[in-house]
């Protein structure tokens, strides 16, 4: 492959020359679907790119939510969403950004201060006056989906766990929990550990910080690079020895797999090793099942379950492994939402000037889920879960939580049966 051929396919700014202006990207753009403010991926991507030598020609690129549908629909191989992300980073570099964007994208910081004061902060988050104030002063929309902080972080729980041994690369999973599990949904992390251990793996949780995605989405590349560097430093030694790094967040997972390279230009062997070692948990479990190695002693959960595969999952290019896992639970009928995007797009839907767009993008999905009459729904990405849950009023859980529940019920039933068997008089 010549240098030019290689550049064509891997460097976003070069790929824009392949655009043939067919506008297919515009037909799949969730944001252009709901607002006239956004001219669509073709305009802010390959079209505007030609004028991006000096000062940024067009601020509307900031309305891109980064869902990536444009890139996947493009018949000419243009990396449209990636081009837009870089353009936003360039704009932030040239013009700066708000304190609000710096704060909401620094999830490590939020968790450090939020968790210790969880009872107070969480109360605030659900009081209308506090939310009004938050919108006025903080620029976070009063109706945006904010998840309560956990009382105790996942890492704190993990430290209290004893006797976890490293069983070598084949039998040990390096768990990248991400900020959502650490500071907001530690029970998902506990379920993930349980499911992995049930399938014979040891789980270890090395040093890690936020993957940096919220910063990438807000154009704060230098800050994101610092997070990435620390994660790579911690994870690369495992990756190089053949350990698998598993995430329960399709967003963190995609960042480790692709965005360090595609957005942040981190292309060294260490970053590559981390990328290649990273697995989404459903991807891993589904692969185990394909190889006949997944424990399928699962108790029935008879119900219809609306399932929304998030945009970040689609970017992985692995299909919808969760659907294969749901199919293993007797009686559980998962129904693919067949809807593009819930609108949340990480921090996008939090912002007061973006909330309405985010809500309109997800509206048909929310209606579909409510109309289904289901008592809950499933989704692999945290901010999408929170967005759907806030809009529908229903609990929305990660697919692996259903597996964990089903395993537990099976084990409980088996234990009960065992106990009954022992007591049964002859």
């Amino acid at each position: 492959m010549s240098f030019i051929d290689a550049a064509d396919v891997t460097y976003p700014a070069f790929s824009t020359d392949n655009c043939i202006k067919c506008n297919v990207c515009t037909t799949v753009c969730p944001v252009a679907r709901v607002t006239d403010l956004f001219p669509g991926p073709k305009y802010v991507g390959p079209q505007a790119q030609r004028f991006r030598g000096g000062p940024s020609p067009d601020a509307t690129v900031d309305l891109c939510s980064g869902c990536g549908y444009c890139t996947r629909a493009c018949p000419a191989g243009v990396l449209i969403a990636e081009t837009n992300s870089r353009a936003r980073a360039r704009m932030v570099e040239q013009r700066g950004t708000s304190l609000r964007n710096r704060v909401i994208s620094d999830t490590d910081l939020l968790i450090r201060f939020g968790v210790p004061f969880a009872p107070l902060v969480n109360l605030d988050a659900h009081m209308p006056p506090a939310r009004w104030l938050g919108e006025l002063v903080g620029g976070v929309h009063r109706r945006a989906a904010v998840h309560p902080f956990a009382r105790r972080t996942f890492r704190s729980w993990w430290r209290g766990r004893r006797g976890v041994a490293d069983a070598g690369p084949e039998k040990t999973i390096v768990y990248f929990h991400g900020c959502a599990v650490n500071g907001f949904e530690p029970s998902l992390g506990r379920d993930a550990v349980e499911v992995l251990e049930r399938n014979g793996f040891s789980v270890i949780v090395p040093d890690q910080v936020c993957c940096g995605l919220p910063m990438i989405s807000n154009g704060l590349y230098p800050q994101a690079r610092r997070k990435a560097a620390r994660n790579i430093r911690s994870l690369a030694s495992y990756a190089r020895r053949g350990y698998r790094i598993v995430t329960t967040s399709t967003s963190c997972g995609y960042t480790l797999k692709a965005e360090y390279h595609e957005m942040l230009d981190l292309d060294d062997p260490e970053a590559r090793a981390v990328s290649e070692a990273t697995w989404d948990i459903c991807e891993l479990l589904s692969e185990l099942h394909d190889d006949g190695r997944l424990d399928t002693r699962l108790a029935p959960m008879a119900r219809d379950l609306p399932y929304h595969p998030p945009c970040q999952l689609k970017a992985h290019g692995i299909g919808t492994p969760a659907m294969d896992l749901f199919a293993l639970i007797p009686g559980l009928r998962a129904i693919d939402s067949n809807h593009d995007c819930c609108g949340a797009a990480g921090t996008y839907g939090l912002k007061k000037e973006r909330w309405q767009i985010a809500h309109d993008v997800g509206q048909p999905l929310f209606e579909k889920i409510v109309a289904s009459g289901a008592a809950d729904a499933a989704c692999d990405s945290e901010t999408c879960r929170w967005q759907i849950s806030t809009a529908t009023g229903l609990p929305v859980r990660h697919p692996v939580e259903y597996l964990a529940e089903s395993y537990r019920s099976y084990a409980a039933a088996a234990a009960l049966q065992g106990a009954m068997g022992e007591r049964r008089p002859r």
């Binding site: 996947r72 290649e276 990273t278």
Partner: protein, 441 residues
Amino acid sequence: MPSADVVVIGAGLAGLTAAIELAERGATVQLVAKGMAATHWAHGGLDVAAPPGARSPANGVARLKARGGHPYAILEPDLGPALSATFARLAEMGLAYRGDLRTALRFFPTPIGGLRPAAIVPVGQAPALEPWSPGEGLLLLGIERFRDFWPPYAARNLARQVWNPGPSRIESAAAALPGILELRNLNSLVLARRFDDPSWRAAAVAALRATIPGKGRWRIAVPAVLGLERHADVLAEAGDALGHPVFEIPTLPPSIPGLRLFEALRARATAVGVRVQIGFEVAGVERDGDTITAVATHAAARPLRISTRDVVLGTGGIGGGGLRGRRDGALEEPILGLPVAAPGSAEWLGGDLYGAGGVALESAGIRVDDQLRPVDPGGGVVLRNVRVVGSALAGMRYLAERCGDGVALASGYRAARLIAGEASNPSAAEAPGPARTAVAS
């Protein structure tokens, strides 16, 4: 590793048809495509064959077949059944088509005022092909500020065409639709989505009606933006309210009729169990001798491998990216490295792109045996479990012969029957196969 009975590569008409036909026969099908497009670039009608002089699609097919090496030499028996199956499933998805192989080819006006022959079109375009009666005029009715449809320009060009019998007079007008003038971004998609909204639609149709010149009998041509998801409703309402027959003229990409066609087929494919994976570019394949055992697609960290028994290659011709010109002047088929039958690069552009014979390059493609398996120049089968469908096939001229949609449907249909073991030899294709499950009909 995930597995499928069949991996279909390409989400155009050919790939979607093959995938749906296979899934309806009980196969597990993964459809992977680098992107979407073929349908979004086209007019949404089904061009079967309209070489110069052809009177109907069937007559066109006969002419093309008579010339050696055309895919119709193999595919003609599949064309009728493929079309009926397609019509049935599109109708079920709420998208009716008109015309058949014996319908006379008539002229259809283009948005820049050209004329192209057509016979099989979506119901929204069908009035354009009715014979013109004396005294009947054509009114090109545009939408103010919509840049993809210029009625005065189209009207002037149409007046210069040889269109006989055509409309007795051609006029143009444009309507200001509510809330449209204030928009920053206006394209066919924005308008089509607005038309889906019943209350806006009522006001818009009233505005269109107000611009119709008072006297005379008209046939009214509007840009093809009459709704996306609620197209049938919009069409009915516009027809009633305007008081004259109305038809849509497809505009620049994204073509709304093409989009409707794609979405109907994709929805159908999903409904019958096909996993439609858009954005899955093939990274490579695994072989065992002359058999493909797995297809790998580009993914974020490592290629996704899908093991499979059969492969359908529907990646298109030069326009679709199924064939690619190399810097050394040769054409290549980038996914499987199949031998490409093509003229030498010096002759590529010989001929007239829009003329009777087209350019030589158009006929380039993959040569196949009667089971649609790729063959080398000596006629030997290169890959035993690969079927080539659609515009990747050698010997067809998409533009000059207007045969792309017919070849796509017939080859997709035939590939599915071959893989399902229903048409192991060419003559069997005409009889209904024993294992045919009548889902579509």
